[in-house]
Amino acid sequence: MLTKRIIACMDVRDGQVVKGVQFQQLRHAGDPAALARRYNVEGIDEVVVLDITATLESRQALARTINAVAHEIFLPLTVGGGIRSEEDAAAAVDAGADKVSLNTAALRRPDLITTLARRYGSQAVIVAIDAKRRDDGFAVYVRSGTTDAARDAVAWAREAEARGAGEILLTSMDRDGTKAGFDCEMTAAVSDAVDIPVIASGGAGSVDHFADVFTRGHADAALAASIFHYAESSVSELKQYLRANGVPVRL
């Protein structure tokens, strides 16, 4: 049976892992390669490296960081943050990324999804959607959550799939860093609307939040950052809990 994936995300700035709350108040969380090594031992299923300042400061994802992480783990590695062109994606792939995550650029230039899917295959193209709840649905934000994209998350996820995206990384901006739990309703709305896997992100604070997003939220994978960085909950403990609660995981 296909298992539910647990993904560790490292938000990287200047070669160091940082983490904020609701996209603000960054604090340091360590060296990316050292964290990747620990996660690998603990049984993480995948790793995502996001260059969080890249979009705002027009920087490419740090090839050196990608390379250092890729040498620590033989697991799927996704790189995102500031990937605006085929060249940026190629630089990430050449440095060792298996998948690239597009956010702002995908909305500005949706054809980039198709271009990259043709070059590397759909499995290598993740479209990241940052969204907030609104009365009439789920509003998509871009440029690191600073700009309303005037799009609905469900409709945009469908379009991204049609254009060749292989997975959707859906982040609840309302929940990001709050440890109040994933937004299961939003995750289910998007997951039920597409055939490609949906990775839920934003709000992980305890092991039962993961069980929730896999059951009520219909997520295919769940991503978290701070809960793993500060070793509040180890990946192996989380997976033991999930298995005991009927969620299939790789142990």
Partner: protein, 201 residues
Amino acid sequence: MIALVDYGAGNLTSVRKALTALGADFTVPSTPEDCRRAQALIVPGVGHFGATARLDAQWRDAIGSAAASGTPLFGICVGMQWLFEGSDEAPEATGLGAIAGRITRLDGNADRRLKVPHVGWNSLEFRGQARLLRGLATGAQVYFTHSYAAPVTAECVASTTHANTFSSVVERDNIFGVQFHPEKSGEAGLTILRNFLEVCG
């Protein structure tokens, strides 16, 4: 020297990295002739079966005759699919035909919430003795990402089920193939790559 065949399907970085970590001596052949001289052949691949069209008749002849003379041949993901006769994903592209059968699309089932593509970690159900699987036990989990899959044939030594039951590991004499990505499958994947390197001697 192992020949790692690059036909432009996705990137070879991860496979190279894993082979390097295992101490393998490999090169990327620039002509079909290089394949005839290789000690072993690896055909990797991510993405679309259509990319294998670049392995034209000359490459197929060279790889096919090397395999026929006993050179170990290992196909990974689309590379494994290419060992078969062809794929519904790209009917115009011809496979090597070392294994009889055709690649078909996984049949997703919305009611059971089975998504296609099949992305993530799934288990190998062993169906017989296999050199590639030495040191692993049935139920071992590996990382898949694909929408098309191979039928269960006589060469199938491990199968996996997602919507359909398909061949996830094939092995016959010196012909080997895996549908998943051993280079992305943690320790289990490295064990499989190491087993292939041992076959190569």
